[in-house]
Amino acid sequence: MPFQPVKFYQTGTFTVGNRLLAPEERTVQANMQRTNGLNSGHRACQGCGEALGARYAIDAAMRACNNQLVAANATGCLEVFSTPYPETSWQIPWIHSLFGNTAAVATGIAAALKVKGRREVRVVAQGGDGGTTDIGFGCLSGMFERNDDVLYICYDNEAYMNTGVQRSSATPPAARTATTMPVGVEPGNVFGQGKNVPQIAMAHNIPYVATATVADLHDLEYKVTKAMGMHGARYIHIFVPCPLGWGAASNDTIKLARLARETGLFAVYEAEHGEVTSVSKIRKRVPVEEYLKLQKRFVHLFGKTPATETIARIQAMADRNIRKFGLLEEEGV
């Protein structure tokens, strides 16, 4: 019998940890001493993807910089549910900026630390898709353009959830929100380009841009750790399902993030200086219906007379992503 290296096959590398893995191969989240940057008692909804994504990212960043971290946080769900005065769920130095100026506040903190000679203290800015792709976009672009030493993390749940699920420039086509009701000839959000901020960030040729989802923790932590090992402007865009705004079951949060990747609707990749350096391949390709059907914001596409044409257009978006980023394993490999 040929030599068979002892591999870890029970759950591969997809689970958070495992008793049989060497400690350094486990995730930060598997560690009993993880920071818990976002602690219990926060007021996010049941099954909140953003709360999960934020703890994943911040804990990984804390480990990467030896717990020397300051975070600036845009207004939005994440800020509101974590810090109703006088309580805070944050177990790191944390400042609440305005809705639109987190990138600028973080730039200021980085500049102040530089002046004070505190090179070891690192700066993270974070916000939702509203604070990033719409309202804070000018400040963000400026931060990129100046190559300020900040890691900006966007938690993308595809609408303004905090204020009652209004459309943002990250809302996908056909989705129902409070401002894009499922009425008329093209129900839900319009088909258009939206605003693809990871691609726009890449166009600034900054040192590092990456996308990730809460469904692949190993990948997310790898990207945060890699970004923390660099200086200059860095951007990570994390896909975080919102059970409330999407009308999904609270226990499907991770499943939805997984399906977004497996359908090709959300491309997971990383880029350095404007050049894509790696993509996460799809493991088991699934049609977009499987993803859409779990969410009430797309319920008008199904029912007695399914909107097959609209579904086909969404499938075409996924297919385009798959072609553009090469998300499928090549045949015969």
Binding site: T15, G17, A51
Partner: protein, 542 residues
């Protein structure tokens, strides 16, 4: 305390906010019954011993295994592994090679000389076991573990029963069998060979036994009426396999015909081939699909050049050994019906492998017994109609396999123990079954089954060397790690990681996890993302 401008309250942690009060359902850690454990006739805790084997802790794995089955090296060779047929991984890629890992552990135990734990203090009770086959040996082991003094009376010259006299060497090397029997006897079990029990009540009374377990097996070959010439050589399969263990090997000739379609028919045909028959032909009245023999054995036999004549019955045997064969055809209900077409098949000997009967003579004069279809009827506790006399293995109604027999031995031992103490044995309630739907297969990597090496065909046709090889250490561990741990936590940290509310407490290696219900909002992500289905949601009490 002096507060800054416009600040009236101290900064507090959100831990003051017990979000657990939002919950309408709560998660609960459970242990569900893995399908392998559920299917095992010997009641092994398969998932439990694979758990230790995965970590490379083979002795711990073996010790968990032998809590239920004292003969893993035998089992890893002769068991038809219903565990693998029911393994959830079979629906994912291929079933875990449980049987090959079991064999590895059994062989490792023999190699390393691992011994059973010493029995606890003696109970003072004496139990007689009749028959040293798998069922009797298993009962002896389990009774000895419970502190009882056990004596086995075996009619034959060796222990092992059908494991020795029914299963050929090429499937079960005798030194493996000897080693595992010796380990049981080393616990203080007394074995008396060549000691036939003619009357069970007399034997019990003579040495003051408090209870008896009968496991004499089924060793009488069934006959069927076939008109045969006086010089025709007609043998029965059990006799042929039995004489393989003696000095005089059976003389079967160059052309051997075996009549029957069970595993014994296959065993005899393969044995005849190894004894030098140029042709070994199985005659069976139905088709391959209907054959009771296990398909892998049929396949191995065909590989070795055994011929099988399907849909055929033997009508007559002439003096010179010419067999008259009638072709059969299956009717609508799948039963073979004669067609009236005949052909002739030359043979040097005909071996009948038509099943076996039980020799029940030792039960003569025992009141209250019920015999039906040639086997002893027993209660669910395996007790016969006579209080204190229990029976198991092939002599009671059951599927006749070594594994079932070993299971009977364990079950009987527990019930005998309870009976001796004047109580009755209550089996622990079974957990809910961990079926495939309860798993989250996303987390399991694709890993094909490791195949055991097979002896090359030429050597299989001419020698009694063992056909199927074992796995080496790294392959056995690889195979163990393919276990999906259905229904039982294996500490993958997923629940601890995926909780948005940090409401899962990790208790440390080997201690699993706990929910912090002060903060758990009841979202259920941990249940959905648990790979092995070891968490469930239950409604909160209102």
């Amino acid at each position: 305390m002096e507060k800054p401008f416009a600040i009236t309250l101290d900064v507090g942690s959100s831990l003051a906010n017990h979000t657990g009060s939002w919950r309408t359902k709560r998660p609960l850690y459970v242990d569900r019954l893995p399908p392998c454990n559920n299917a095992c006739p010997a009641g092994e805790n398969i998932q439990g011993w694979l758990f230790h084997a995965e970590a490379g802790n083979y002795e711990a794995a073996w010790r968990v295994l032998v809590q239920d089955n004292p003969m893993p090296a035998v089992m890893g060779r002769v068991c038809y592994h219903p565990c693998e047929s029911s393994c959830n991984r079979g629906q994912f890629d291929e079933a875990v090679g449980i049987n090959s890992v079991e064999r590895f552990l059994g062989d490792e135990a023999i190699k390393q000389g691992w011994k059973f734990d010493a029995p606890p203090k003696a109970s003072g009770k004496k139990v007689l076991i009749v028959g040293a086959g798998p069922s009797g040996l298993s009962a002896a082991y389990h009774l000895a573990r419970l502190g009882h003094q056990v004596t086995i009376f075996e009619a034959g010259p060796f222990a092992g029963g059908m494991m020795r006299f029914g299963i050929p060497k090429y499937r079960l090397p005798r030194e493996v069998l000897e080693a595992e029997i010796k380990r049981i006897l080393d616990m203080g079990v007394v074995l008396k060979l060549n000691s036939r029990v003619d009357n069970i009540l007399d034997s019990m009374k003579s040495a003051g036994f408090d209870a008896a377990f009968l496991a004499v097996g089924a060793h009488i070959g069934k006959r069927t009426f076939i008109p045969a010439g006086s010089a025709a050589k007609v043998l029965d399969a059990v006799g042929v396999l039995h004489s393989m263990e003696g000095e005089e090997k059976p003389m079967l000739g160059r052309r051997v015909v075996v009549y029957g379609g069970g595993n014994t028919a296959i065993d005899v045909a393969r044995t005849a081939k190894r004894l030098g028959a140029t042709e070994a032909i199985i005659v069976y009245r139905r088709t391959r699909e209907k054959m009771p023999a296990h398909d892998f054995e049929v396949e191995e036999a065909l590989q070795e050049g055994i011929l099988i004549k399907w849909l055929s019955t033997i009508k007559q045997v002439s003096d010179a050994g010419a067999l008259t064969i009638e072709k059969m055809a299956l009717d609508d209900k799948g039963f073979p019906q004669p067609t009236g077409e005949f052909e002739t098949l030359e043979s040097d000997s005909l071996v009948l492998a038509l099943g076996q009967d039980v020799d029940l003579s030792l039960l003569n004069g025992v009141p209250g017994l019920e015999i039906k279809d040639g086997v002893v009827q027993v209660s669910p506790a395996l007790m016969t109609g006579y209080p204190g006399i229990f029976a198991g293995g092939d002599m009671v109604p059951s599927e006749r396999t070594v594994t079932v027999a070993v299971g009977h031995g364990k079950k009987a031992a527990r019930n005998i123990d309870a009976w001796l103490l004047g109580s009755s044995y209550e089996a622990a309630p079974k957990h809910e079954l961990a079926n495939y739907e309860k798993l989250n297969p996303w987390y399991y990597n694709d890993a094909p089954k490791t195949m055991r090496p097979m002896l090359e065909t030429l050597r299989r046709q001419s020698t009694f060397d063992e056909v199927q090889g074992g796995l080496d250490e790294s392959s056995a561990q690889f195979e163990a790690r393919r276990c999906m741990s259905c229904g039982n936590c294996f500490e993958c940290d997923n629940c601890y990681g995926v909780c948005p509310d940090n409401a899962v407490i990790k208790l440390g290696p080997g201690k699993r996890f706990e929910f912090n219900l002060d903060y758990c909002k009841g979202c259920g992500i941990c249940v959905s993302e648990c790979p092995c289905g070891a968490i469930k949601m239950v409604p909160e009490e209102v």
